[in-house]
């Protein structure tokens, strides 16, 4: 779906002025902890997070994340938004929870990006 439609669906606010009218959101990944975000492998995904530290943008930049949605009403400080703008990543915030945001996006055709869950003997889910 288009980024603008995501904004409407999540009743969100776009925080900076990159032209995103044609941007398509088709895959997403949701996590608050950055190492969990860094474990995702697929490129060109959207990141849904409640973490608003500047490192989120650095991680998104390193991973080639195409857009970030901040949930639970969190709004990153101006400096963080400016940094996102500088590296060309559009950011949006919504008051909805992570669960609800993910559910709404999923119901509208957005799918999980590939990621690598924890594995190995003694750690990680066995199924």
């Amino acid at each position: 779906m288009k980024f603008a439609d995501v904004m409407e669906l999540l009743d969100g606010e776009i925080l900076e002025g990159v032209d995103v009218s044609e941007m398509i959101i088709d895959r997403a990944y949701a996590a608050d902890l950055l190492s969990d975000v860094l474990a995702l492998t697929d490129e060109r995904t959207t990141l849904i997070t409640g973490t608003i530290s500047p490192q989120v943008i650095r991680v998104a930049d390193i991973l080639n994340v195409i857009a970030i949605i901040f949930v639970r009403g969190k709004r990153p400080p101006k400096s963080v938004v400016t940094y996102a703008q500088r590296v060309g990543i559009p950011v949006m915030c919504t008051k909805k929870t992570m669960f609800e945001s993910c559910g709404l996006l999923y119901a509208n055709g957005v799918r999980p990006c590939k990621n690598r869950p924890v594995s190995g003997p003694g750690s990680g889910c066995s199924k």
Binding site: D32, L33, L34, S35, D36, V37, L38, A39, E43, T49, T51, S53, P54, Q55, V56, R58, V59, D61, I62, L63, N64, V87, R116, V118, G120, S123, G124
Partner: protein, 145 residues
């Protein structure tokens, strides 16, 4: 050929990750593929943040690139890691509680470094420090890891 050393200051959370984000840009300029620059960026970021959060006096992030390898080396002079197996266990973390609000403490950093490396070496001694070296093989430039 590219060789860069960044010094990383202990406790400098605010700038945490800047060296790694910058490194990725430098690697791309050097002709490294997007895929490999991204893996190097992940390794460097995890290493850089660990230096900031845990190394008493910070440390260095050293990167050397030639036609065959991207080598990423992290060094600090303490406190060292007592039990490396434990530190490498998914979910194990001694990150302070405030770090979680900033997105740290999943206990996945060292594992992400290993998973993105073709070869990974870590050695550590209490009171002496920690040394991590990660190699990415440029000759098998694919999506396999």
């Amino acid at each position: 050929m590219l060789e860069i050393t960044y010094s990383v200051r202990a406790g400098d959370i605010e700038h945490g990750g800047t060296a790694s984000a910058w490194l990725k840009v430098e690697l791309r300029k050097e002709g490294v593929s997007e895929q490999l620059a991204r893996r190097a960026g992940v390794i460097a970021f995890e290493g850089e943040m660990n230096l900031i959060l845990y190394a008493t006096r910070g440390g260095t992030l050293h990167v050397a690139v030639d036609d065959a390898y991207i080598e990423i080396e992290l060094n600090d002079d303490g406190p060292g890691i007592e039990d490396l197996d434990l530190a490498m266990t998914p979910g194990y973390s001694t990150a302070p509680y405030w770090a979680a609000n900033l997105g740290f403490g999943a206990g996945m950093g060292l594992i992400n470094m290993e998973r993105n490396s073709d070869r990974f070496e870590i050695s550590s001694h209490l009171g002496e420090g920690t040394r991590i070296v990660c190699w990415i093989d440029r000759r098998k430039d694919d999506n396999s890891t």
